[in-house]
């Protein structure tokens, strides 16, 4: 075995990970123990690798990625709060939270909300603690039936690319006294939530052209059509919307 051959083999050797008795490495390592220059080269190579490994390990995934992956498998109808057992401390805590909530909602009700506030609050709420989908649905028809049963109007229009995507379910979020539907979609590996709201609630509702924003880990794309404003949230909503606009497939169902 020449030194150059040994170097090529030892380039793939990671002490502590690769077995030094592995026939592939054993001979090259034996040579490195005897040859001073090769030994120094190996020490330098291992130190270089260690630096790269450490820096690569510092690359962090987006904060919401794990939750988003897990959330997809936790779509179940939640147990109503009145069916859950509560001890005194929990009841006291719940009362305190309720009181605080009342004070906050009273304060909030004194002024109109902006669409930017709505977008951020709803992105947080829709991706909140699992389970995040109240009713499982096979398609948009199921979603509309669920909303009708909850006395929520369903005359909204969804972009075709979303309407053709797999629907997981729907939930209703109470936002400042309004029932806001959130529809959970799955499209091409992306987990997306579409929020539908009455656009007349906001003086600054978005235009027809999707407007993108980022809130913490979540990307949002917002637009208005007819009487509704829409917020699409997910980790990569922007790329999702851009892709279909680029392919000129961002049109409307029906």
């Amino acid at each position: 075995m020449t030194k150059e051959q040994a170097k090529e083999i030892l380039s793939a050797y990671r002490p502590g990970i690769d077995d030094e008795l592995d026939p592939l490495f054993a001979n090259a390592l034996k040579l490195a123990r005897k040859d001073k220059e090769l030994k120094a080269w190996l020490a330098d190579s291992v130190a270089f690798d260690s630096r790269i490994c450490n820096e690569l390990a510092r690359v962090m995934a987006p904060a919401g990625l794990r939750d988003s992956i897990l959330a997809e498998r936790k779509i179940i109808r939640p147990i109503p709060w009145w069916n859950r057992r509560m001890g005194r401390p929990q009841m006291a805590a719940a009362a305190a939270v309720l009181l605080a909530g009342l004070i906050v909602s009273l304060w909030f009700s004194q002024r109109p909300a902006t669409f930017a506030e709505f977008r951020r609050e709803i992105a947080d709420q829709s991706w909140g603690s699992a389970p995040h989908v109240e009713a499982k649905a096979a398609d948009l028809k199921d979603v509309r039936n669920f909303l009708v049963s909850m006395n929520v109007e369903t005359n909204f229009t969804i972009p075709s690319v979303l309407a053709q995507s797999a629907v997981h379910g729907c939930t209703l979020i109470k936002w400042r006294g309004h029932k806001v539907p959130v529809i959970c979609f799955h499209s091409e590996g992306q987990h997306l939530h579409l929020v539908v709201v009455d656009r007349h609630l906001f003086p600054d509702a978005p235009a027809h052209v999707p407007q993108t924003d980022q809130w913490q880990s979540w990307r949002t794309a917002s637009w208005s059509k007819d009487d509704h404003a829409y917020v699409l949230t997910g980790l990569n909503t922007t790329s999702f919307v851009k892709k279909f606009r680029r392919e000129k497939r961002w049109d409307w169902e029906g």
Partner: protein, 180 residues
């Protein structure tokens, strides 16, 4: 929690970060890396057989992600960026990001700048999640090819980092010179 759910959650917790790092190295885009990671777990969730065989889980996840990336790349080649409608794109308003851009440290930047197939091989090597035999299996190449790609990839990486270091040193020296 049902056994499959537990196995799924354990696999996500254990591997979503190395998979994201691999995907980021392949795609060089945070959004695409998140997509690739999400998609591989979506497929993983559908494969109950893989869920039961823990020993195969990790290699299966990395192999599937890599194949998915290659498939996506082929698709992108069929729909090249030149087809992008600039006027349409201009109508999408990008608001400023809340968080700062990811820290681009020299070593990772140099690693991501490597050309394929040296990039994928080197990233799998530096992730320290797989043996060289598993790397060969994931990339579907002979072991000898992994060895030569690693050796060449490492040379390119060193050269890139040295040149980056030299340019930073030169900039610093120029800055000092300008101040004196």
């Amino acid at each position: 929690m049902p056994p499959d759910e537990k196995a799924f959650e354990e696999a996500v917790s254990a591997y979503y970060e190395p998979l994201y790092r691999f995907a980021l190295g392949l795609s060089r885009s945070e959004a695409d890396a998140s997509d690739l990671t999400q998609r591989v777990f979506e497929r993983f969730g559908e494969k109950s057989g893989v869920l039961r065989d823990k020993a195969k889980t990790k290699t299966w996840l990395f192999t599937t992600l890599y194949r998915d990336f290659l498939q996506q790349k082929r698709h992108t080649t069929r729909f090249p960026e030149s087809e992008w409608d600039e006027t349409l794109d201009a109508t999408i308003v990008e608001l400023p990001r809340v968080e700062a851009a990811a820290d681009a440290n020299t070593a990772v930047a140099a690693l991501h700048a490597l050309e394929e197939p040296f990039r994928s091989t080197s990233i799998l090597f530096y992730l320290q999640e797989h043996s060289y035999k598993e790397i060969a299996e994931i990339l579907d190449v002979p072991i000898g090819t992994v060895m030569s790609r690693l050796a060449r990839g490492k040379d390119m990486l060193r050269a890139a980092m040295d040149s980056s270091h030299d340019s930073v040193s030169a900039t610093n020296a120029a800055g000092k010179g300008a101040r004196t």
